[in-house]
Symmetry: C2
Subunit: 134 residues, 2 copies
C-alpha cells in the first residue's frame, strides 16, 4: 500500500521536474535561515546518511537547484543553499504535491483510520533492531 501511494505521488511530482528526494531536500532546506545548511545538519534533519545526501546534492547541484559553498566556520564542512532555480522549482511543485498527497492519502482516510494507522505504526517501529538470533 505504501508502494501504491508513493508511486502515485512520485508520478505527480515527476510532472513538475522533481523527484521525491529532490522535493524532500528542497522543502527541508527552504525552512532554514538563509535557506542554507551544513550538509551534515541537513542530512540529520532528513534522516539521510551524509553519503546519500552528498550524492544527491551533487546531482541537484548539477541541475542548478542548489549550490555548495565551503563552510567558513568549519574547514571540513560545506554549506548547501537553495538557488533561485531551486526556489522556483519548489514553488512550482509544492501545490501539486500537496494536492497529490491529499488526494492519494489524506482524503482517503478518516480520523479513525489515521488513529489506527498511527497506533500500528507505533507498534511496528518499536524497539529492537537486532537480527534474528536463531
Amino acid at each position: 500500500m505504501t508502494t501504491s501511494v508513493r508511486a502515485g505521488t512520485a508520478r505527480d511530482l515527476a510532472d513538475t521536474g522533481l523527484s521525491e528526494p529532490d522535493y524532500e531536500v528542497l522543502s527541508t532546506l527552504v525552512e532554514r535561515p538563509g535557506t542554507t545548511s551544513t550538509l551534515h545538519e541537513q542530512a540529520a534533519k532528513m534522516g539521510w546518511s551524509r553519503s546519500r545526501l552528498s550524492r544527491h546534492a551533487s546531482r541537484m547541484e548539477a541541475r542548478g537547484l542548489i549550490a555548495r559553498a565551503p563552510d567558513p566556520a568549519d574547514g571540513r564542512g560545506c554549506l548547501l543553499s537553495l538557488t533561485a532555480a531551486g526556489r522556483a522549482a519548489l514553488r512550482d511543485a509544492t501545490p501539486t504535491h500537496l494536492e497529490s498527497v491529499r488526494r492519494r492519502f489524506a482524503d482517503r482516510l478518516d480520523a479513525d483510520d489515521l488513529r489506527d494507522l498511527l497506533r500500528i505504526a507505533g507498534k511496528l517501529d518499536d524497539g529492537d533492531t537486532s537480527p534474528v538470533s536463531g
Copy 2:
C-alpha cells in the same frame, strides 16, 4: 513504518547471503513445476517489469543461484530455473526469514491491528492512478 520493518527483515536476510529481491525470486520460482519459468511469466507473477527481472536474473545467474536457458517453445523467450545452489540458499534463508517477519511484524500486531491495517490498505490502494489534474 514500512521502512523500519523492511530494513529489519532485509538486514536479517542479508545474514543469509540473500537480498529481499533475491528471496522473492527464489521463493516464487520454487513454487513452479520443475522450479522453472519463463522470464515473462515469472515477472508477471512477481509484479515486476521484464526489465527488472532480466537485470536481477543476470546478477543472480552470475552468483549461481539460478540458470537461464533458451525456451524451446518460444525462440524469443528464456527459461529461468533454480540451481542446486539456489535451492540450498532458499532452504537456508527461509526459516530465518519467516522468523524475522514474524518477530518484526506478525507478533507485534493483534487481530484488530491486522483488520484495521487491511481496511486502510484497501482505501489507499484503491482506484485511480491518474495524475493530479490541476
